[in-house]
């Protein structure tokens, strides 16, 4: 069992995500990867579906993992993890290995989780494999140059949802809520939570709870992307905080079928405080911003937080 980390000072010193990647300056997913690897420790096998945390991490046949790591297709992180898990179960039971059962972690982007990878993810969870599936959400298909994924927010510019006279808001569709999809309907689910790289202790402890769960664990991690969202590379952590403080992102765990917030701002700021720093929203008109505010309020309501709709004045 991995123990709770009580504070930053008590966090493990060892790094398992080390130099050897070439992610963008300020890359959110890379920052959370380091925290995840630190929390998981050395008895860990990572599976990397195609995406930024594959391509930008291994570009020259190298990589930053001090633990075993294998590439999977963007389609099948959940399925490959299932196979690794089944293999260790069988080999240990049949005395074909003296290995201990390892942490098996899929590190999938929002596309590899909620879109092309959803079938394999759902099947793995239906079957009850002892794996941790992490969705690092940078809210686009970033590796291929910023295209819309089902988790790209309403109103966000991407190369597949550019704003123009015909489509003034850019992205018209509201995003999927993959966490809620996973929370209901998979009887073998053992642990589910959301996290953000801007709240590192909370994130690392949720990783450990997921790994301790002895069954399928799902962890959504919000990971801002300076390149895709158009904000300065040194503002990643700040943007992540604003996402939570405006209610766009909620930090919670599913405990006995109920959502329990693990962090709640004393007062929610209007979402304008979040989107004003991001170029991908710069084309939005007041009516679009209002819709986005309603979206945030609705997501908060779903986890038991009633907010008065703040008046949008700009």
């Amino acid at each position: 069992m991995l123990e709770e980390i009580k504070s930053i000072k008590k966090a493990p010193v060892e790094e398992y995500y080390v130099p050897g990647h070439r992610t963008c300056a300020g890359c959110g997913p890379a920052l959370q990867y380091r925290l995840v690897a630190k929390a998981a420790g050395p008895n860990t096998i990572f599976l990397g579906p195609t995406g930024c945390m594959y391509v930008a991490n291994t570009s020259y046949a190298c990589g930053p993992w001090a633990t075993p790591w294998m590439h999977t297709q963007i389609t099948n992180g959940g399925a490959v993890a299932s196979g690794v898990e089944a293999a260790f179960k069988a080999m240990i039971r049949k005395h074909k290995t003296d290995a201990e059962f390892p942490n098996i972690i899929v590190m999938a982007g929002d596309g590899g989780t909620s879109d092309i990878g959803i079938q394999a993810l759902s099947a793995a969870f239906y079957r009850g494999h002892n794996i941790l599936f992490i969705c690092y959400d940078n809210e686009s298909y970033a590796n291929t140059g910023i295209q819309a994924s089902p988790m790209t927010p309403y109103g966000a510019w991407t190369t597949f949802t550019p704003a123009g006279p015909v489509v003034p808001e850019g992205k018209k569709l509201m995003p999927k809520d993959i966490t809620k999809i996973m929370a209901h309907g998979h009887p073998e689910l053992k642990y589910l939570a959301t996290a953000s790289l801007s709240y590192p202790i909370d994130l690392m402890n949720k990783v450990r709870k997921g790994l301790n769960a002895n069954g399928p664990a799902f962890l959504y991690i919000h990971a801002p992307c300076p390149k895709g969202w158009s904000f300065p590379a040194d503002k990643t952590v700040e943007i992540g905080k604003l996402a939570v403080e405006t209610g766009m992102i909620q930090l919670y765990e599913l405990i006995d079928g109920e959502y329990k917030l693990t962090y709640k701002p004393t007062k929610y700021k209007p979402i304008t405080e979040y989107i004003k720093y991001q170029g991908r929203f710069s084309h939005l008109q007041p009516e679009h911003i209002e819709k986005l505010q309603q979206f945030a309020n609705q997501r908060l309501k779903e986890v038991g937080v009633e907010v008065e709709a703040p008046t949008i004045t700009t």
Binding site: G63, W65, H71, Q73, A79, V84, A87, F88, A120, Y126
Partner: protein
Amino acid sequence: MGVKKRMSGCVATANAIRLADVDVICSYPIRPYTGIMSELARMVADGELDAEFVLGEGEHGQLSVVYGAAAAGARAFTGSSGVGVMYAMELYSPISGERLPLQMCIADRTLDPPGDFGSEQTDAMCCRDQGWIQGWASTPQEALDISLMYYRIGEDPRVLLPQYACQDGYFVSHILGEVDVPTQAEVKAFLPPYKNHHVLDVKNPMIIGAQIEPQMGPGLQYQRYLAVEGSRKVIEEVHEEFADIFGRKYDPWIEEYMTEGAETVIFIQGGHAETGKTVVRRLRNLGEKVGLVRLRTIRPFPTQQVRECLSRFKAVGVIDNSVSFGIACSAGILLTEVRAAIYDMGDKVKTVGFVAGLGGEMITHDEFYKVFKKLKEVVKTGRVDKESYWLPFEL
């Protein structure tokens, strides 16, 4: 010597998988291979086989699961038919390129459209470029035997390649044949435990499948090419070892049937060869100089062996039980590969292609007679007036 039983190709394959003490199996139902998986599920439930029986979500998922399992160091098995084989296409290159010697049994089936449960070799033939060991069993006995041999070949440290153990849907997968089921002791002597150079092991961390720059590409592909070419020697060794332990001797590449003194032969792959053999026997009884050559291993293609064998005949009727629309010479894949293999012999050996048995139909005795009649005509005139025939429409 094991126990002789009557069983279908599906059940024979399942017995091989049981004897191979496979660790991870991933299932998904599609006709006609499903019987392999239901027999394996029964074996696991009855305690005859200790394996993780993973209920896959689809064929793409199946190949993904066994890919992960093999990378972790487990002996893994899966299978499919028809469009299922196509759905998993994305995985075939990663599996062979990462040198994971898992096995897939394909009980072949025609592709959509529309739905047709009948046998046709098209599904597995579409995979022939992916760097796997591949061949067709023509009887349930052979289905069991190639499954065992393919694990041995594929897992050999000089090879480390996955294998497609193919059999004709229905004709082999479902029709009963007599099968000598080996003992566990015999298989243990033949098939050592699976040990790969590169596995997911926290004691020896590795990065498997890192992204590369284009300039690194050719070298990786060349390595895989060398592995496939290098498997030829191992395939021959393993067939010798198999004969020694199990008492059944197969030519690794081609089976010749009544070819002594033949002037015309049929070149064919899989279960339809059994029908062809009956026709050859009857024609021989009538004094006709005919024979049959059955291709046992299509990948790697036995170029030299095919060349040497076919050079002894005057005309060869190549039977393609698959479609490849628009292919050179307008018949099928086997005709084109045979022609490539014997190209250097110039015009000495005439070849004609016959696309037959599509959709799950039998290749009938009548069709085989017509093929031999056409070949006899080719020998007489010294000309191939038409190089491809789609049976039964064009002869």
